[in-house]
Subunit: 638 residues, 2 copies
Amino acid sequence: MTDERSALTASLRHHLDGPRRAARDEARRLDGAAFGHPPGPLPMSEHRTRVAAQVRELAKATFPAGGFPEHQGGTGRYGDSVTAFEMFGHLDLSLFVKAGVQWGLFGGAVSLLGLERHDALVPRIISGEAQGCFAMTETGHGSDVQGLLTTATFDPSADEIVVHSPEPAARKDYIGGAANDAQLAVVFAQLVIGGDSQGVHALLVPIRTDDGSPAPGVTISDCGDKLGLQGVDNGRLLFDHVRVPRTNLLGRYGDIAEDGTYSSPIENPNRRFFTMLGALVRGRISVAGGAGAAARSALTLATRYAAERTQFPAPGTGVEPVLLDYRTHQRRLLPRIAAAYGLLYAENELVGAMDDVLSGRVTDEQERRQLETRAAGIKVLTTRHTTDTIQECREACGGAGYMWANRFAWLKSDTDIFTTFEGDNTVLLQLVAKALLGEYEDTFGDLDTAGIVRFGARLAAGTVLERSAMRGLMQRIVDAAPGREEDVTFAIRGTQLRLLRDREEHLVETVARRLRRAQEPDGDTFAVFNNCQDHLVDAAEAHVERLVVEAFAAAVEECPDPDAQAVLVRVCDLHALTTIEKHKAWYVEHDRLSPARTKALTAYVNDICAELRPHATMLVDAFGIPDAWLTTEMLATS
Amino acid sequence: MTDERSALTASLRHHLDGPRRAARDEARRLDGAAFGHPPGPLPMSEHRTRVAAQVRELAKATFPAGGFPEHQGGTGRYGDSVTAFEMFGHLDLSLFVKAGVQWGLFGGAVSLLGLERHDALVPRIISGEAQGCFAMTETGHGSDVQGLLTTATFDPSADEIVVHSPEPAARKDYIGGAANDAQLAVVFAQLVIGGDSQGVHALLVPIRTDDGSPAPGVTISDCGDKLGLQGVDNGRLLFDHVRVPRTNLLGRYGDIAEDGTYSSPIENPNRRFFTMLGALVRGRISVAGGAGAAARSALTLATRYAAERTQFPAPGTGVEPVLLDYRTHQRRLLPRIAAAYGLLYAENELVGAMDDVLSGRVTDEQERRQLETRAAGIKVLTTRHTTDTIQECREACGGAGYMWANRFAWLKSDTDIFTTFEGDNTVLLQLVAKALLGEYEDTFGDLDTAGIVRFGARLAAGTVLERSAMRGLMQRIVDAAPGREEDVTFAIRGTQLRLLRDREEHLVETVARRLRRAQEPDGDTFAVFNNCQDHLVDAAEAHVERLVVEAFAAAVEECPDPDAQAVLVRVCDLHALTTIEKHKAWYVEHDRLSPARTKALTAYVNDICAELRPHATMLVDAFGIPDAWLTTEMLATS
């Protein structure tokens, strides 16, 4: 590598690493052999043993404490903690998930939903001494957490809460850590006091005795083998009138006093529920982070392979071009590299916003809600990108891609479930759509149409989701772009952003209009909703796509090194324009682009791919994945 | 199930099963526990042992003999054999592949490339006594078989052929059966006689001695663990001047006489090579068959799950609709079920054409070529459909889809490589495009432009690829449809076919025009080709998409039961229209459909999905996969 190229790579990496680069660098020092995926598939039990040991080892690092506030024995470095955790997405994803369950889900629930009386438990969670699991999902209800069937009934006579699974569908399912290691569970259940349900609450339930056998009344079973993540001990829990002290209720958003009365800082049960879930936003951000890392591993390997692998002699010369010289191969890899850049910048921004909220620097309700919406949306786009990208990279490496030694096998199998983790992607997009359509209660019947329309107008003006001055910059870029269709020049950033915003606004406004019918007296609410469901999901997707391109564009603007910036400008162009190209039918149908312009768009995207082709390996080198974490059999260089 | 529904299901199944339904029914009697995927992941070596035993057991069935002519000890029931084999795609895909290597690839090569002197080996191949592998792919060359590096040099003094791997890139790689079980290999190598290369030929090389150790000069290594297909013992072979008798040359298309002279029934070396490869067309047809079967397994499971799984209470009523009632879920599953129907009908037709050729009933050179082109194309579309469909089905089943017990795990992992098997899909599409662009020699430099343009015209007239009267029927259907854009009614079959043909013709004609530039004296041939590569691939895809819809349409026309036909008409509509919808940007860009019509198209596809929703489980029941082959933990009914 020339000095110049090496300096440019370092500069790109520095910028991609973002403000939490020290946390990334600390993670980069981890031994890939010790914390990476095993060199071959292990039987489930051996893989679990290996990962459990890795988690014990990781407890010594600084990142677990980062996820907790100082008054609970942590260091309050939330952003650093999530960023370090994201880097484990390059290592064994079973470890990533297992650590995420212990410190993120279980620890996070205790820390964020608990009260002062639970603080003493946190240091034992950080050290790994207290192992726990997060028992939310039930066999009968995955996505619909409000519909959980497990009950937690207060018994004032004993000052205890009775946890019970009233039917087989109430079984807690797929619970990471439940099958082997967890001593404690944070159980989500319908809290019943004096015969009245107060909605879903979380409470601590010991599920194992000191000798590791199931606690009385708790039936534990093992989910057994899975497609991937074989190092994670997913299990199932059934409760038969299991009694825990009243104080085991993680009562920050609803507690039972000594006198047996219930109180909550949030009056509205629905708002209470969503606030409680919202506190756990870190999970979605972390899943997106790990998924993005896995996609970058795949892109790095496939791009390096494509830069050295030949296939056929070229007609005319007989010289064999490398795969990357072929247009179809450039089309497979370069837009996905560009998307990986965009999603990483968006993730960096999201982690920053999360850090602001968790540290208490930001307390504004609307900003919290925005964070949750963005986290849901970025989780969807990133995990979808990851599934698609790893598949494409595997295929782009042919038979070599199928060999375990070349890593795609487990990258693919382990990340497959990320589209389902922390909420099915289709369900999450509807959550995003719901947020876009304004703040309303639990059913579409509650829609205030006027409010929706007003909301649409505010969105159009770009005021709702713009949280920083950076976004003001985006608005200036848009305003500076020529507005008339015949003037469309795809290389102008403002034009790109305007096209993406146009689509989002139109989709949101029109779906709001269609949903209005749900309020007509004899309308079949489900039918109206269902007829719009694809439209709703498209609107949400358009929104998140725009957010990602804006995050990318903002990062490019901020890049201090002009050489790196020049490259990033084109990578951002590629991402913005392939996003627009994906929807080109929409742009023509809605008269935003002429057929001649959309044809030109495809030609232009091809040109950018060819222009970036010489930078391809540099672009993936800039992901900064340690070579020792990416050993393969298929690469001559690595 | 009502009697009426059950009769309709049976009628649909009868029709889908096609003319070789007896072979399907014979396969359906296999014990799913004995021949299905193991109940949990096994260590590689145990899985291999299990599959090797299954293959020995299968040797007793009638299907292996079906793949060979009577004079070689077979029964010459080629179509039945491939159809039975296709059914194994519902069982353990390792078994599917391992059986395919033994009887299809290895046996097929001996049978079809060998001479009378090799006939005696065939009965021992059928019985499994002689185990073999198919050593074509090399580490350095996967797709480019003409560029293989292994040499087979005739030594007249010893009347032997010396097989040699001149460099590491010449290593035979990913060879199924090589790591453990194969005694013999059909090795593809450059045949060198008297210092002249005669191009790639196949010859028999013993790779193991009687005690199972590598034969002298043969180095065998193991590919080790893979993403899936862990029951297949893929290995690597290196040859160090390994000597075999001259008569080991499988000399049907080029033999060495006793006097050491080379002769071939085909003068042109390039044509000889493609004729030899063409003889092996069964491999691609079989891969498509197995992939299609796996996709149907996934669709059956996901559809049954969607028909009983609820998620959220509906707004208004509080009743929880099942997943299949949601539009987005209908959109996920129904178009893929429709595609599965189309691809199965196309596969049935392909198997029929293959049977005609292999049995010698059809000897026409052009029909043979068409078979090869269609086999390549259907293999691409089916394997791509399979990868996409199994992924979508896994996600559509959420966490349950990730559990090994629910089958998606191994369906996904095992079929992943099918997009690479028998030729990378992008490479195969270029092969299809090449065939579409006329019959020319090995380089784009040889293009006769006038010929291409003439070819385009013939294609437009629908004469080239129409092989049967059935296709004449398609032409009449097209002719009967209104031709003007404003009259487009999507429900008219002729309109659907005309739209698909329009696109194909336009893409082929325009790419032919662009490639003309490759002949200009100072044109950079590779650059011209490469600039058109995406266009070429699109043209090929459009061609195969049209073929599949036509095969589907023809099958619908032929359905004798009016009730079944009425359902099939709509399933075919759905497949044809989602294919057109996928390319709606193209149709608008090229002024074939107005923006208003493409918007109407999407609404109409949604309507068909809703209309077919009540039939959804019936449509997958009609795939006729034995219940005992589909046991899961996630389905209440199964």
